[in-house]
């Protein structure tokens, strides 16, 4: 899925609101502005730390991932990929491969031009991996190589080879304007203008991509390592011309995706076609190298911010131009943070994308926002320095309560102020250098503290479905066609059901990861918990109503007089009148299904967003350019937290990923070979356990019943958005020069220090 479709999903499936809401809607919104929302109810499990219900299975190796799937008669499929960044395929000869004993199927997957190294060309399926590998070597492909360009800066040259036949190498990506920026800059006392760049970050999930496809007459079952079982099913239905009703997609456990596993992939279609040809199940697993060339990455950006402000910090104008690059696909629109987060009457955005002969980018954990937060928040810190102002104070000075920079719809709730407060206290904000680089430090070591802000969507998707099944023997099942991509969805499902039904999480049997189950959205966009938990809550509340009626009949009391707790139904007025759960369930006589749905939210009146503030403390060695993150505090407004342990893990993961992308990770492309030079985990460097600091995770615990029946918002991406930015700003505070480009490798830190030296 590309970032554009992804963001549309993340917004809850609706399109962007007009820049100026209709006056009528505005009046309505004002009228609907609530008094302070009521408090969250007292919960027994929701919001408390619950150990993962599947923890034991995972750590003992019993959890079955797609890579573990073994079906009877299963073949191994392998895919031949173009080594060239651009070439004309003259011919593909499968015959020598098919002649090899043990090879059961072969396919041509490309004709005409290939436009990036790693593009699928042919596939084989054989009885084992060695045979399949040998067979791949026997496929004869004749290429006529064409000029190519993989360096996005060179791709902008008029002389560069044209990447796509249908358009020039540079195309418009996004444009936005409100107010009059020229007037705004005219009113400003201080104007800064700087360029911030972000590199190519590869998703690199622990579990590489893969699918197992099996036909049973005309029914296709696919085990897929995916974040979107329903999406894969629908995509396969289109690609295979099979009714969606005849396809089942299953994913029980997954080792991460980060946005790179959101749709029906070309290799999944290849597996299904090979399986059809061979009449046997086929498994296709991608390699680590494949992860760097053909299943996406976070596109690069080169963002120039021009910001004007009054002496007191009040913003008057904000202008952003961006040049993104996402290979043969589009780059990301990074403007959202600039457009939305700070109060500013005028704002102008112009973004372009550059095409290169590299695989298309894909949505990656908060696409656009992560890059945008790095640029915008860096610029805000450099503005604060120019104004001689506390960076946190500058952010508070321009706090908005409506979206589109305080010109749009009111936020239904916004706990960002509380996040600033919590995070600043936890990191010890007062210890920062008053001015960037003005701190001490022993020898070559300089310390600094930085902050960065995040905004993201993540209020969930109305229409998400879940069932609760009560069995007469007392067992309870919760079923939802969502997927647990490693974040702890099983646990939150059990927590919500147990809380509502007066049981314990371990009493609940959780079923997910099957596209035959009730519909739920992709696990991307931080949608899973705010979509699924309210649907389960809804189903469970219906079950409670029914159970209370049954219990009331048994106890001969009013249903309204019943409390459910401690595995009993009891009369409030006469606690002696009580019946154990098991007896009441038995009275149901047969299994009973309760359907739940995540209801709508008033999106025409309010903006629903998640917020967060991250604080980092770093130490920089100014002689070697090495950065160490010493301490980190993250505060998130994700509404009601459902399962505190897994929520904390999400935040720690987001910080780890941002630290890693901020200091180490970068895919390096080479124009001469048209390939990345580091398609592995040795030269594509990911932070190790030793690089991760002490982390404090805090939640603002904002209660807002307008979001959904549990006041839950998403968390996965909010935890990632500001993490590279906070570290970069801390580095700025430490050394007095902003590195302005991630990853901040020793090379770049030393170059930035030289820039500072040259300037002074």
């Amino acid at each position: 899925m590309n970032s554009k479709d992804y963001i549309a999903e993340a917004r809850g499936g609706t399109t962007r609101q007009a820049a100026k809401p209709k006056p009528q809607a505005q009046a309505q919104a004002a009228a609907a502005q609530p008094a302070a929302p009521a408090k969250a109810p007292e919960y027994k499990y929701i919001g408390k730390p619950t150990a993962r219900v599947d923890g034991r299975e995972i750590v003992t190796g019993r959890a079955k991932y797609t890579h573990d799937i073994k079906l009877r008669g299963m073949l191994i499929g392998k895919i031949l990929r173009s080594p060239y960044a651009a070439a004309e395929i003259v011919s593909i000869d499968l015959a020598p491969a098919l002649a090899l004993p043990g090879v059961m199927a072969a396919l041509k997957l490309a004709e005409g031009k290939v436009r990036y190294a790693g593009q699928q060309v042919a596939a084989v399926a054989a009885v084992d991996e060695r045979t399949a590998e040998k067979a791949l070597g026997l496929v004869k492909v004749e290429y006529k190589t064409l000029p190519s360009v993989v360096d996005w800066e060179r791709a902008r040259d008029a002389a560069a080879p044209q990447v796509r036949d249908d358009r020039p190498n540079v195309g418009k990506l996004n444009e936005y304007a409100r107010g009059d920026v020229e007037k705004g800059f005219g009113e400003a006392d201080v104007i800064i203008e700087h360029t911030y760049r972000t590199g190519f970050e590869v998703h690199n999930p622990t579990e590489t991509h893969g699918s197992v496809a099996a036909w049973d007459s005309d029914h296709l079952t696919v085990y897929d390592s995916t974040q979107n079982i329903h999406g894969v099913r629908d995509g396969l239905a289109r690609a295979m011309k099979v009714p969606a009703a005849n396809i089942t997609v299953i994913k029980n456990y997954m080792g991460g995706g980060f946005g790179s596993k959101l749709g029906a992939n070309d290799y999944t279609v290849a597996a299904a076609n090979l399986a059809r040809q061979a009449g046997r199940p086929v498994k296709v697993l991608l390699s680590r190298r494949d992860n760097a060339v053909c299943v996406g990455y976070r596109p690069s950006s080169s963002q120039t911010y021009k910001i004007g402000a009054k002496k007191d910090g009040t913003l008057t104008a904000l202008q952003l131009t961006n040049m993104a690059s996402g290979g043969v696909g589009d780059g990301d629109d990074v403007a959202e943070p600039a457009v939305d987060i700070y109060r500013c009457p005028s704002c102008k955005v112009f973004e372009e994308t550059v095409y290169t002969n590299t695989g298309a980018s894909r949505a990656m954990r908060a696409p656009g926002h992560t890059q945008g937060a790095f640029g915008l928040e860096g610029a805000m810190d450099e503005l604060a320095a120019a104004l001689d102002m506390d960076p946190l104070e500058l952010r508070r000075r321009n706090y908005s309560t409506k979206n589109l920079g305080d010109t749009g719809m009111p936020y239904s709730s916004k706990g960002l102020d509380k996040c600033y407060e919590l995070g600043a206290k936890a990191i010890g904000w007062e210890r920062r250098n008053r001015r960037p680089g003005e701190g001490g430090g022993t020898g070559p070591l300089r310390r600094g503290i930085g902050v960065a802000t995040s905004i993201w969507f993540g209020a969930g998707v109305p229409g998400t479905l879940a069932d609760i099944v009560l069995y007469p023997d007392g067992s309870v099942e919760v079923i939802c066609g969502t997927q647990d991509i490693g974040c702890g969805t099983r646990t939150h499902m059990a927590v919500v059901a147990a809380e509502t039904l007066g049981l314990e999480p371990k009493d609940i049997t959780v079923k997910l990861g099957n596209s035959d189950y009730p519909w739920a959205p992709a696990s991307g966009g931080s949608l899973t918990t705010p979509s699924v938990a309210p649907a389960i809550r809804d189903a469970a509340l219906k079950a409670v109503e029914r159970l209370k009626a049954v219990a009331a009949a048994r106890l001969k009391i009013e249903a309204g007089d019943i409390v459910m707790a401690d595995r009993k139904f009891a009369s409030k007025s006469d606690p002696a009148k009580a019946a154990p759960f098991a007896d009441v369930y038995r009275d149901l006589r047969r299994e009973t299904v309760f359907h739940g749905e995540r209801g709508a939210m008033p999106m025409d009146q309010f903006a629903f967003n998640t917020f967060g503030a991250h604080f980092a403390e770093v130490e920089v060695d100014v002689e070697t350019g090495r950065i160490r993150v010493l301490k980190y505090a993250a505060a998130q407004d994700s509404g009601q937290i459902v399962s505190r342990l897994t929520a904390e893990s999400q935040v720690v993961g987001g910080i780890t990923q941002g630290l890693s992308a901020g200091i180490y990770e970068e895919r390096v492309m080479d124009d001469a070979t048209g390939n990345p030079v580091n398609p592995n985990l040795r030269d594509y460097k990911i932070a190790t356990a030793l690089d991760i600091p002490e982390i404090t995770v805090l939640f603002a615990d904002v209660f807002d019943p307008r979001i959904n029946n549990l006041s839950v918002k998403g968390l996965g991406e909010p935890a990632r958005v500001p993490s590279s930015a906070a570290i970069a700003n801390a580095v700025y505070n430490a050394i007095g020069v902003h590195v302005r480009e991630i990853p901040m490798t020793p090379k770049r830190v030393l170059e930035a220090l030289k820039r500072k030296e040259a300037a002074s």
Binding site: P83, P444, D621, E623, T624, G625, R626, R628, I663, Y664, V668, M669, D670, D671, A672, T673, N675, V677, N678, N680, R682, D683, K685, A687, T688, L690, D691, T745, P746, K747, L750, E751
Partner: protein, 324 residues
């Protein structure tokens, strides 16, 4: 991975004979942490893999002639944990502990570490045939070269990746090479040869020869040594630049000194000019800076590795100050 045969010789002579007589392309395997990776990715092919593991007498650390003999098959972890080595050669222990990860130190050997192949990302790409692999071009020269050499490149700009080699050379170690005609001894510094000698290899081993052991002379009175490794992340990282310094200190000055850098050249790189500039002078930051300036006159950075010049300064200063 292509199919290959595997041989398990039981004596050093049998090993040398096998290597010398093999008509197929034979590759030695010690711990296999580097070789197997090369074979699997297709960077290297072998008709015959000769496993050294069953040859007796190649593994272990023993006192000899006042110094220590380290067998080629000694695991890196065994060197890191050896009490005598730790006491007499702290910089060697530091280097052993700084390399790779615990898993790799458990499996990888000292001989394998000293004979490991380069990490140039073009060399490691099975699709690329560069000069080192018999092709005509060095892709790094015009291409992506932030990890490449600033000294001694000549048609090939790899950096020699071993952490043990610079330290052992700074300590005056000698290599014992096994051949079909008996052993021979060479200073470890002369064991390595740059691309100007043979671009396809990094050392002087001829067909039929292998590294049997290294011998480190006993510490002299007043001997001081240090190893400083600069890298990007905290662990599981090769040196961007490293500095091994060893010498004899009297009254705040080095009367003898060896400075050997890692990560900067196709072989462990001795900074003779820096040694000369440091020798006999009371050590101070100014003196070290001067020494670095002298040595860096020979540096030829490429488009993306100029920052290594700064790292050489930092590593040299830190290693000298740590040693003294």
């Amino acid at each position: 991975m292509r199919d290959f045969k595997i041989a398990e010789p039981r004596t050093a002579d049998e090993l040398a004979a096998l290597l010398a007589e093999s008509t197929e392309s034979a590759r030695l395997m010690a711990g296999g942490t580097d070789l197997v990776d090369e074979l699997k990715s297709g960077v290297a092919t072998a008709g015959l893999v000769v496993d050294m593991d069953k040859v007796p007498g190649l593994r272990g650390i023993t006192a000899e002639k006042g110094g220590l003999r380290i067998g080629a098959m000694t695991r890196v972890v065994e060197l890191a944990e050896d009490a005598a080595a730790g006491r007499d050669y702290p910089s060697l222990k530091e280097a052993a502990l700084s390399l790779a990860t615990p898993q790799l130190r458990n499996a990888g050997t000292v001989g394998g570490n000293l004979c490991q192949r380069p990490r140039c990302w073009y060399y490691r790409d099975p699709q690329v045939v560069c000069r080192k692999k018999g092709g005509f071009n060095c892709f790094a020269y015009q291409g992506r070269n932030k990890y490449h050499a600033i000294f001694g490149g000549s048609g090939c700009f790899i950096v020699f990746p071993s952490d043990l080699a610079p330290v052992l050379i700074s300590l005056g170690a000698q290599a014992t090479v096994g051949t079909a005609k008996g052993d021979k001894v060479v200073p470890l510094g002369d064991f390595y040869a740059g691309p100007e000698v043979d671009v396809t290899r990094e050392n002087v081993l001829a067909k039929g020869q292998f590294l049997k052991s290294v011998w480190v002379p006993g510490p002299k009175p007043g001997q001081r040594a240090a190893y400083v490794k600069l890298k990007e992340r905290s662990t599981w990282d090769f040196a961007l630049v490293s500095a091994a310094v060893a010498g004899v200190v009297k009254d705040g000055a080095f009367t003898e000194i060896a400075v050997v850098m890692g990560g900067v050249a196709p072989v462990p790189w001795r900074l003779k000019k820096a040694e000369d500039a440091l020798k006999g002078k009371a050590v101070s930051k100014a003196v070290i800076r001067q020494a670095a300036d002298e040595a860096l006159k020979d540096a030829v950075p490429m488009r993306e590795n100029g920052y290594k010049v700064d790292l050489v300064r930092a590593a040299l200063e830190r290693a000298v100050l740590a040693a003294i």
